[in-house]
């Protein structure tokens, strides 16, 4: 549904940051269920959005980004949209060349998050009028606003597309 342009804009992946071997990152230190992070990556592994709901240092973040890319991109349409990931699971959905991934607790409701991704993508599509990868790159600050309207503190905040879009248009009018 999203026509995504070819990748004209290449991102230098944080090179030189992974020299130190990483110990197992304890994703379960947080008390209760919540989204751990949301990632949007393209097929080449370039991150188009990374929203973290837990504290990680930069090396850990980079490591997680690479691991998620590695587990998600090898899967095809016959596979489920869920992958076990460390002690967690990634719920992901692919739109053209972009992977939208949400990392949640193993006991969380898979389908609810799968549709939360789609709901989010429909909002982006409406807001950017046929969203493409470059919209996410150049309007990164707007994308963060959309995320905050729909997901906050690792929880689903608002699910009504009408309400979110109304709020976004109101904010845009302030610019």
């Amino acid at each position: 549904m999203i026509p995504l342009g070819t990748n004209a804009y290449t991102t230098p992946v944080r090179a030189g940051h992974c020299a130190t071997p990483l110990v197992f990152i304890d994703l379960c230190s947080s008390l209760l269920r919540e989204i751990r992070f949301i990632l949007i990556q393209n097929r080449a592994g370039k991150t188009r959005l990374a929203k973290w709901y837990m504290q990680f240092d930069d090396d850990e973040k980079q490591k997680l980004i690479e691991e998620v890319h590695a587990v998600v991109t090898v899967r095809d349409a016959k596979h489920t949209n869920f992958v076990e990931f460390r002690n967690f699971k990634i719920i992901y959905r692919r739109y053209a060349g972009l992977y939208f991934c949400i990392c949640v607790d193993v006991n969380d409701n898979n389908l609810a998050y799968l549709e939360a991704i789609h709901n989010f993508v429909e909002v982006l599509n409406e807001y950017f009028h046929n969203v493409c990868e470059l919209d996410l790159v150049f309007n990164f600050y707007k994308v963060y606003t959309v995320v905050d309207e729909m997901f906050l503190a690792g929880e689903i905040r608002e699910t009504s597309q009408t309400k979110v879009l109304k709020q976004l248009l109101m904010l845009q009018s302030l610019e």
Partner: protein, 910 residues
Amino acid sequence: MLPADEFSAFPASPTFSVGDKALDGYSKKKYVCKLLFIFLLGHDIDFGHMEAVNLLSSNRYTEKQIGYLFISVLVNSNSELIRLINNAIKNDLASRNPTFMGLALHCIANVGSREMAEAFAGEIPKILVAGDTMDSVKQSAALCLLRLYRTSPDLVPMGDWTSRVVHLLNDQHLGVVTAATSLITTLAQKNPEEFKTSVSLAVSRLSRIVTSASTDLQDYTYYFVPAPWLSVKLLRLLQCYPPPDPAVRGRLTECLETILNKAQEPPKSKKVQHSNAKNAVLFEAISLIIHHDSEPNLLVRACNQLGQFLQHRETNLRYLALESMCTLASSEFSHEAVKTHIETVTNALKTERDVSVRQRAVDLLYAMCDRSNAQQIVAEMLSYLETADYSIREEIVLKVAILAEKYAVDYTWYVDTILNLIRIAGDYVSEEVWYRVIQIVINRDDVQGYAAKTVFEALQAPACHENLVKVGGYILGEFGNLIAGDPRSSPLIQFNLLHSKFHLCSVPTRALLLSTYIKFVNLFPEVKTTIQDVLRSDSQLKNADVELQQRAVEYLRLSTVASTDILATVLEEMPPFPERESSILAKLKKKKGPSTVTDLEEAKRERSADINGGPEPAPASASATSTPSPSADLLGLGAAPPAPVGPPPSSGGLLVDVFSDSPSAVAPLAPGSEDNFARFVCKNNGVLFENQLLQIGLKSEFRQNLGRMFIFYGNKTSTQFLSFTPTLICSDDLRANLSLQTKPVDPTVDGGAQVQQVVNIECVSDFTEAPVLNIQFRYGGTFQNVSVKLPITLNKFFQPTEMASQDFFQRWKQLSNPQQEVQNIFKAKHPMDTEITKAKIIGFGSALLEEVDPNPANFVGAGIIHTKTTQIGCLLRLEPNLQAQMYRLTLRTSKETVSQRLCELLSEQF
């Protein structure tokens, strides 16, 4: 928005103001935005923070927004900036401008640092429940508070606002309800009592949603499904609580039935979004049904619904149905219903393309297995194993081994299964698995002949796995004689067969085979010279590996110098292994969770070594009257009120039990606790308690009057235990005589994890009772309370004393005062085995004295009990009477209470 050519305009100096005295707000925003962009591309940013903070105080939305975004993405714990940031946030929160308030709340929710919690945890609840707050601000405030509660629960004050928050479930605005439900769910998990009223409100809200027509909720209808995410959240909230009161329960059951009914209706849209949203609610409803586990009707309906999904064309649904059915299989109400799907599930093993789906199918087969279908399921798993992915083979091997053992009616089937396992996936058969088959064969004499014959046949394959050689070597070494009558498996043929594999094997296997050979020397004198020749060859005697060389030299020498009688004694058949929990199960648990039960496994191994070892017999003879032990009052809890030792339950104030009348009451002792307690009298390590959720292991050491005990609490589930509080309880009497010190443990225990608690023990004076270990925790929505007796007994402070016969009798006579002697005559509860008895006396702590008692069948021991105040010499004698299956135990010590207590403890052991 940010054309690349604008980068040229970017100032090179570290602050924005040099060379351009006054940047206007727009430029400041532009440059901060660019910095942020550069950071997001992966470059480090080390200036511009101050400018970003300045933007926060701008009155323009766009400038403020970029400022907040910069802060949220590049959090910096620079204290000075934090103060400035908090100041700006405070102003925005007070601004009454909903847009600015929203930005400030999102920033707090994104950063969630402790400093912010300190500054705003008191303020946000007020915003949340204030009557004039805009809906969108309420949504943000609810989740902002949730974030602060997660990071710093101690800083969020509970108060009047909590009851008003619960009423947000009734709010007109479904977005507010959605956000509030998350907050309430989290708070309710920690403070169930305070949020109890949320149950009925959540049920009414849910009922209004599920019964609404697909257009009623307008904005919140997603592909014809009314408010799917909110429904899921409400169903999750209900999973924090047990089934509600009958009135509410009726309405909830109606809701759940409606959800199940809707699943049967024809879809309102062909779009996958419609079915996903509908099924998200359905799966959450099924989770709640399983959580309550009380409505057989709903459980069976849930199972039938999932059964339909097993054949759905959507892979996602098949996967989720398998996963959900796994939990249904463990409910007594739906176990049978799950079993009816066995064909579909085994079929999934063969046809699914996604390995994770196949893995769920294996899990489900394992969960639905019982005696009636074990043979079929094991056969299916074995055939799947031939083609299974490498990543899951070891787990399947463990599961097959466990099921085969657990449900074996016919042990020949068990032996066949394990040998098949080694044949198909030898590389994935861990030591635990093949150790276990050997233990079982040794303990069950009805299967030994069959096992010998089967391994002999299996070994004839031209290529067989090294694990098979190990099992074969061990079993033929023990039971090769059972098949030696058949000329096709004569001793020489057996030996040649094993020896043909010898050179292809690794060193440990070769070492094992050498032991088999020396056992053959004993079993079959006719092959002795052949074996001696092999042992004598240079490749053995001069082997570079020191272990092999030593075995060859020693075995050769043994076979040459020892008489047949000595050989027969030294190389006697192995005694039965003590029955115990399968170490394979422990291994599987370990695979599931990173750090469980390793120590316990070791402890178990030590224990079996204890029993098999042990020195030579001892003599005696004696007399007197029996003193029945008042084991009923062993605990002493009835007499003195229990008082906790060490710190009181840490989160006791929060941990209010919803289900029992008295909140922090100590549970009665767990069933089997007495038996387990008795098992620990003569040993220090092992599993003290185990149920579906929790395993408690012990490791302890004692020296003189001091001791240290390590208690391992293993969470056997995949869910966290919350408010986990172990407490040691001693009566006043006991506390005067036994001092225990420990530190509290972490109140959360992650699924599959193990936590350790150390107890330092000092024996002040002799004591009779045992401390009680009470454990309280919250698992899922339910409160758990377990009590077990902690095996700290007087005999742990025993130091053995060796003495000659003369000394012994001299001391025995010295202790001839009637109060000093206690005697008990009792029936044997276990088989009367000399070696085991000896091991127990040594385990009890006393020295086992040989050649003291004139009657060699009797056992005599001596030792000193160390307490802080005094030392007490103890002599004991145990006279078995094999005909009557009775024992007479006599204790003489310098203190009456000590004689009494030791006699009670030791009498329970035989």
